[in-house]
Amino acid sequence: MKGLRKVLTPFAPDQSGAVSVLYGLGGLIVIIDAGGCTGNICGFDEPRWQNVRSAVFSAGLRDMDAILGRDKLLVSKIADACKKIDASFVALIGTPVPATIATDYKALKRMLEKEISLPVLTIATDGMRLYDEGEALAYKALADEFISKDGSLDEITLGRTPLTYGSDFADITLEDYRKIGPSTKVTAASASGVEAAKRLGIPYETFSSIAADLAGSIPSGKVLVCHDEVFGKTLRDKGTDCDIATFFTLHDEIKQDGDKKITEEDEFTDLAVNGGYDVIVADESLKPLADGFKGQWIDAPFFALSGRR
């Protein structure tokens, strides 16, 4: 049955990806939800929540907010919070609630920027897409608001967030983004990084440090990699002859014959069991789906997929 998950838990959704990009940048992050999405992000999808302070709030929407469209109340609450918190920007993160009632983010941005003297980013995530798309939307919002592309930063890595990299994420500041310029060496470390680099229009390279670390330990044979696309490409660049299967974005620039974007558990099972692979490189949480696979499994933790760092 399409969409049925018998083994895997739901992957990190787009709003978690958006927060992941913005988490350490010193902004006031307001998740436009009733509270559950914020709980999910802080409790499960954002490992920094345990030890790195960031101003992440829920809008705390209630029935009457949806019925009456009380955007002004939200604006006044955020303006009030801005008086108490030293933030460099405000980010409004969408969830299924505003998506369902069709909240007008452009109007919210306009109303809020009249009340406060901070830039406002609005990210129309809807909880129905996956984290990498939310990350890409957050990068787009950052690019639109802060990146003039005339800076002189030496290098930057995009898409190396905890959701793809666990504890090996890149710590990037808002100032880094502001300083991106035409001579900046841009490395796309995941699918969202590829999307961000393409949007910036600056030449980029792809590289996954966690894949590079693993490259030397992969035995020869026919290899299936089920992870982020850049993870797979890096293994390929390091000499591993592999096919990439990913539940997340697979860009045409990376895709080769044999690569596949998958959405269903059964698709992975079919590849793992019937694909003739000698080696599978993937998060161990996928193992129960490969019952019958006789080859070697190389564990590659993928936080957005399993919550394993």
């Binding site: 069709a102 909240t103 007008d104």
Partner: protein, 250 residues
Amino acid sequence: MLKIAVYGKGGIGKSTVTSNLAAAFARLGKSVIQIGCDPKADSTINLLGGKPLKPVIEILREGGEPASAEEISAEGFGGILCIETGGPTPGLGCAGRGIIATFNLLDELELFEKRKPDVVLYDVLGDVVCGGFAAPIREGYAEQVLIVTSGEKMALYAANNICQAVKNFEDRGYAHVGGVILNHRNVPGETEKVYSFAKEHGIDVIAEIPRSDDINECEDMGHTAVESRPECEASQHFLELAKKLIGEEK
């Protein structure tokens, strides 16, 4: 690009006015898109020879994933690109949300960027009853609202609500009211009442459409008057209005 949303009380003749105005723009050589924002999905029928157009929401309901504007539209008189949002089964779902879903799809398909129309007309159901029905006047869509009214009390009541709604949206960067179109029903004191209403709200009556058998007879044939009887009085008023709006844009 002229981007106009037409609002007014249900049954006041919004679709008739919008379609005739669209046809008038087309006769003046303009590239036009008309988007019907009403679950009844009958805004563009008289631009399409009386043939109903399959609404976008129906295509989406059937699981369609349109990849191009051609899949959700039809070309009518004068090359006017016709689109109907449609809506849920009456009594179910959320019609306003349906309008937003359609607009999101139009954005994804980059309709305006690819087609580069001179004029976009949004024909919106009734007055502004919820956020979804304000979608056509959100930033990026219509830039001016034309209110269709007669001198009937409830039509003016709805027109007042629309003016109030637009005023409430001032801080959101939404469209402004561009004027009133008086669609004559020939009720006593009609002209005075409508002009008085317009004056009270600081807006102009930008056109008067006479009660016309030509319009009704053409609609019976599935056409606008501007298409079939361009020389008739009503058509001339629509052509004048179209010229006026083009002139204002310049």
